[in-house]
Symmetry: C7
Subunit: 71 residues, 7 copies
Amino acid sequence: MQKPLAVLNKAINQQVIVELKAKRSYRGILEGYDPHMNIVLKNAEEVINGSVTRKLEQTIVRGDNVIYISP
Amino acid sequence: MQKPLAVLNKAINQQVIVELKAKRSYRGILEGYDPHMNIVLKNAEEVINGSVTRKLEQTIVRGDNVIYISP
Amino acid sequence: MQKPLAVLNKAINQQVIVELKAKRSYRGILEGYDPHMNIVLKNAEEVINGSVTRKLEQTIVRGDNVIYISP
Amino acid sequence: MQKPLAVLNKAINQQVIVELKAKRSYRGILEGYDPHMNIVLKNAEEVINGSVTRKLEQTIVRGDNVIYISP
Amino acid sequence: MQKPLAVLNKAINQQVIVELKAKRSYRGILEGYDPHMNIVLKNAEEVINGSVTRKLEQTIVRGDNVIYISP
Amino acid sequence: MQKPLAVLNKAINQQVIVELKAKRSYRGILEGYDPHMNIVLKNAEEVINGSVTRKLEQTIVRGDNVIYISP
Amino acid sequence: MQKPLAVLNKAINQQVIVELKAKRSYRGILEGYDPHMNIVLKNAEEVINGSVTRKLEQTIVRGDNVIYISP
């Protein structure tokens, strides 16, 4: 059994995709998270409709926006 | 009586379908879950309008998106 | 006075209709529930606009989708 | 001062109207409730746009759907 | 400093307007409330687009629908 | 560091703008608040699309409607 | 591991972008925050569709509106 937060923990310092309800996703290095699935990404790219629309050195995504997080 | 989380527990390491509010579903091997119904899938396929739109080696789906989970 | 969860409890192993916010309902045998109204159905049929659109041997419906449950 | 749940309690075994966010209402005998305003109705009629669209011998309405309940 | 619930408390037995998210409001005598801002109104009138659309001798409005309450 | 509720506290008895999710805002004297950001305004004006659409001697705005509050 | 709130804490007194669900963002100096991600900005600019639409000396943004916060 792999608990969701344990899987997030193993993904620390790795590239992840964070898909949001607001029809956009963020790709970047997972720097941190908390039990609400708030997450910290480094060198993040915002992707809307398949295009990179923004680059963010560091960003904190509020967990309630998340559909899925994939290592 | 079969409690919802006990049914999830029996489905560990089995193929499940996770139907989401955002008009999409994920099929994959259930690796884990927590009491919020956050779930971990392995070898997941995203299905939108009946077509596979993405493959994800591993993904954590946030529980508040879920309509149903079927073993 | 009939408490909502007590009424659910009496419906265990009986046929129920579960009407969801997402304009669909599920009919099946109630196998279990929890205090969030997450429920387990056996031999469930998904009904959209009056037509059966899917059959599910067993399914766990997340409680926050529910409008009503009728024994 | 009349607390909301105390008013619900006095309405037990009486006819009530339950108006929902999903543009529909239910009329029936109030059999029970809990602190989330989940409620149990007996001999309920679903009303959409002024027409009775369904009859339910007994139904449990999840409280988060409710706009108002009127004895 | 006037705490929100203390202001509600002073409005007991007075006429209030309750504006809801569902583009409607209720005017009536405030009979009670609880910490979720669930409220009890007596002799309430439902107002939609400036017209009285319903009269309710007594009604319990679930707090999560409320935009504002004005004494 | 200025905690959000401490900033609200300093704004007591001052004019504030409260911008809501429902495409409207209220301007008035901040009389009170609580930890949910429920707030009490005195001499409030409702503003929709830049026009004053209503005046309210006193109003309690439920916190979950708020986008921002500006002193 | 960088916890989300610890990252916010390091950004105190620095310029941040706060992207909201309501298709707008705020740029300003982060003055404070709390565990709900309610935040205080100083010298904030509201940006809608790439244009500055408002300037606010100080503003408290309610955390449940936030998509992301970037230092």
